[in-house]
């Protein structure tokens, strides 16, 4: 701030917590000089429910439903991160079919999350109809959720060592239907937004961040790639068999809102590509690993073999005891690098479950993005970093 500006009177404005463009209960305290943002301070914690603390009093497998409720727009990504972390802690592997099914479903989840983002982001910037279109396409992915798990939102479908149930026989049909609908939708969105003059004016050169700054502020996911840094956990440190899939990592150049928008839009096409490969190459096999004492045995064994019945009973009542140690497992969630740091003290409950939420770290850079800009651009910036407050506060 220059000396002349400092003598001017500034206005303090609370944006949120009940502001429709803050995507949940985020409060941003803005100090305004006219329409220019002098200082922005985000306040979070309105949705803090102590999930990390609650995990410490639950058996390992009982934590899974809580992970859905952090990033509620991408529940399967959260399930995957947690299950992979516990599998790493136990040192077990899962059957091929499970890996492919998980990849297929998490990629559809990525599209689902990005569809909500594109709808609300465009809505914030004045393209009202986008929200309706995006939610229409999202419905077809929710149908997949319903087909596999019986639940439309909080699916809790992945389990440690496998899946909750086998994939339904018409799984192909549901995914292909969703892909077809999303593809036609994406073509519409491109025509509606990419060359739209108002949308371009609201996004190009707004809330810019350079590659070095993006790394320094801990950006991951599409926000980091929007600044041109090629870091995607799926490529850099593949998990769940991602090394077998062929896909590109879209990159931006300028690190502005428009580039982050383009990165996410292109990512949806890549996700469709991965989901198609996963569908075509889905191997046959069991939907759960056979690990006595850790993974539930098949139901027919429980009904006919005594050992299986005992294991079933023991796993449900006592859980299992991983060895002492701590692991960190990162996955590429729709919003960035989602990591689980799980520490075990040798008992049947985790000693500490730390979630590395991508939204939390990305949101911390909001002041950097908006300070010096116009107050209307704050909304564009919040939309472009794609936060979910359930994950920020946990």
């Amino acid at each position: 701030m220059t000396a002349a500006a400092s003598t001017r009177k500034t206005l303090n404005l609370n944006m949120g917590p009940q502001h429709p463009a803050t995507h949940g209960v985020l409060r941003v305290e803005l100090e305004l000089d006219g329409e220019t943002v002098v200082k922005a301070t985000p306040h979070i914690g309105y949705l803090h429910t102590g999930i990390e603390k609650t995990c410490e009093s639950k058996l390992y497998y009982k934590v899974i439903p809580m992970t859905d409720r952090m990033d509620y727009l991408a529940p399967m990504s959260n399930n995957l991160g947690y299950c992979l972390a516990v599998e790493k802690l136990l040192g077990v592997d899962v059957p091929e079919k499970v890996k492919w099914a998980r990849v297929c479903l998490t990629e559809m989840t990525r599209i689902k999350s990005h569809l909500v983002w594109i709808g609300t982001h465009a809505l914030d910037l004045g393209a009202m109809s986008m929200a309706l279109y995006a939610f229409r396409e999202r419905e077809s992915i929710i149908d997949i959720y319903e087909a596999v798990s019986g639940q439309r939102m909080m699916s809790t479908y992945f389990r440690i060592g496998g899946l909750a149930y086998d994939l339904p026989p018409d799984f192909d049909k549901w995914v292909k239907r969703a892909i077809k609908q999303v593809e036609s939708g994406l073509a519409d969105y491109e025509r509606l937004l990419n060359e739209n003059k108002i949308f371009r004016m609201r996004t190009i050169n707004v809330a810019k961040i350079s590659a070095d700054d993006a790394i320094n502020w801990g950006f991951t996911g599409p926000c980091l790639r929007g600044s041109g840094v090629n870091y995607d956990v799926r490529k850099a440190n593949p998990y769940s068999g991602y090394e077998k899939f062929d896909f590109d990592v879209p990159l931006g150049k300028n690190g502005d809102v428009y580039d982050r928008f383009m990165v996410r839009q292109q990512e949806m096409y890549q996700s469709i590509r991965i989901a198609r490969q996963a569908l075509d190459g889905m191997p046959d096999g069991p939907y759960r690993a056979r690990i006595p004492g850790v993974v539930l045995p098949p139901k027919e064994d429980v009904l006919s073999k005594m050992e299986s019945l005992i294991f079933h009973f023991k796993i449900i009542t006592e859980g299992f005891k991983p060895p002492k140690g701590a692991v960190y497992q990162a996955i590429e969630a729709p919003k960035g690098e989602l990591g689980y740091y799980i520490s075990s003290d040798g008992t049947n409950k985790p000693h500490r479950v730390r979630v590395r939420p991508p939204s939390f770290v990305n949101l911390s850079a909001l002041p950097k993005l908006v300070e010096g800009g116009m107050v209307a651009d704050v909304i564009a910036a919040i939309g472009s970093i794609d936060i979910v407050l359930g994950e920020v506060d946990r």
Partner: protein, 171 residues
């Protein structure tokens, strides 16, 4: 890569590294807290290693467990090298009576909120942090919930049949 980091730390910070650990392929080094800032700064600055992304800071409480004899709290710095695609955990052990460690905000901006969260939930002080305040818990909450000695209580919800009674707190 493990070997490279080990050699680098041995050459430059022989007295700082207490021990190392490798569990399920994840390499971690335990560092003396007095040297933490220097170690992290040079790991970031080194041209070959270049751990430029601070992914996460988290804290653990070992109260009542055999690990407590090394220090009650453990702070884990999760570093990632974009150039080498390699992850490294740097861990610091802190005693229960003075859990305080140097801030790393001058090296990474992302440490700002991460350290505030650790302070809020685990009560570890970061000396030199520009704005070490509560971040997620309500202002009137006393104590640090993720500590193992934080009392767990349950308050009965008030319904029409018990609305005139004082709220019952179950410990």
């Amino acid at each position: 890569m493990e070997e490279k980091v080990r050699q680098y730390l041995e050459a430059n910070f022989k007295e700082a590294v207490i021990r190392e650990d490798n569990f399920r392929g994840q390499q971690s080094f335990y560092v003396n807290r007095d040297y933490l800032f220097e170690v992290l700064e040079s790991l970031r600055g080194d041209k070959n290693l270049e751990f430029n992304l601070l992914v996460d800071i988290c804290a653990l409480d070992w109260l009542g467990l055999p690990e407590e004899k090394e220090g009650r709290f453990e702070v884990v710095y999760n570093l990632y090298s974009l150039k080498n695609k390699y992850r490294l955990l740097i861990k610091v052990r802190l005693g229960g009576d003075d859990p305080i460690v140097d801030t790393v905000t001058p090296i990474w901006h992302s440490a700002d909120w991460l350290e505030r969260e650790v302070w809020d939930l685990m009560g570890i002080r970061f000396s030199g942090h520009p704005n070490l305040e509560k971040i997620v818990t309500p202002d009137d909450l006393e104590g640090h919930p993720l500590r193992k000695d934080f009392p767990l209580t349950y308050e009965m919800p008030q319904f029409s049949y018990n609305k005139n009674e004082p709220p019952e707190v179950i410990k």
